[in-house]
Symmetry: C3
Amino acid sequence: MKSFRKELWFQVPSRRGLINVTPQVEDALRESGIQEGLVLVNAMHITASVFINDDEPGLHRDYEVWLEKLAPHEPVSQYRHNVGEDNADAHMKRQIMGREVVVAVTKGKLDFGPWEQIFYGEFDGRRRKRVLVKIIGE
Amino acid sequence: MKSFRKELWFQVPSRRGLINVTPQVEDALRESGIQEGLVLVNAMHITASVFINDDEPGLHRDYEVWLEKLAPHEPVSQYRHNVGEDNADAHMKRQIMGREVVVAVTKGKLDFGPWEQIFYGEFDGRRRKRVLVKIIGE
Amino acid sequence: MKSFRKELWFQVPSRRGLINVTPQVEDALRESGIQEGLVLVNAMHITASVFINDDEPGLHRDYEVWLEKLAPHEPVSQYRHNVGEDNADAHMKRQIMGREVVVAVTKGKLDFGPWEQIFYGEFDGRRRKRVLVKIIGE
């Protein structure tokens, strides 16, 4: 069994934003030389997500509006976590969107359906944060 | 390390529906011959889910009502994604229910608690769609 | 490839509660002797979650309030599942928070960002329930 590890770093300039990280994960897979196995891609921070969905700007705007409805940022005082912080909503948004994805590796490629793309979902940005890519297989 | 891959195909006749896919995943596991490892089961489409919960019709009806409350299909015009499409809500429902499950394989079986069953959750059906089963182990 | 399996048992005295299970998962990892690979940690019950987030009591209280808003326990009669049962809401809360986490193992440690901690989320407690830890790697 082979294993491979790589960190990806991101700095989203606003509080929230989505970044398509599929090319970086594909690079990591190529670098690993692994042909058959599993890739884990996870946010290393607890106010961010890694998820798989469509790379379509309208949808991304819809996610923003929808997450804000399910877990509003304001008023920040509604959350007990927000003592000297204002990111409790980010901890909720991340639970909806998920921490991680596990993707099959087949013949050296991400084994994806036609529209699957991996995103980093930032809900408390404006600082450097990390995504972990761990690949195991052969 | 061994690896095994299989696609399962489904066509749900209505827009939404849940299918228990546990028997097909068990078949794939038997076919693989893998005794110890991990199974990844994921929707290959971004308006569908794979998740684990109870095979109980009342609960499935509750999920339908609940998801419709959290991410309503109508009015379709409320979503920017719905330009020539009407499935934005399906992209949200799928995030709540999840894209994938990872299940332990122990002594050649899915290592499940008493009520765990794997479901394909369709939120934009009426066409053929796929689930990927990838198994790695020994 | 090596594999290792361990069950963790919990009994939460109230209906709902969160338990930090990171130390037990770390123990299991040490016991396994695995240096590089993946750990799967999943609830074996369908009214409980395993998830990763912050060990901060204010946030845990916020999750309780938030989940109760998204999937209220009462009135229990609003759910068709609640025929002789009263835990339909727990099946929904668990979908929001997730069934499982997959964590990378690097140099014999859980490969975590600074604040990541693994929690067992109980939504229908007052009885003994299990979490599965399955580790594969080398």
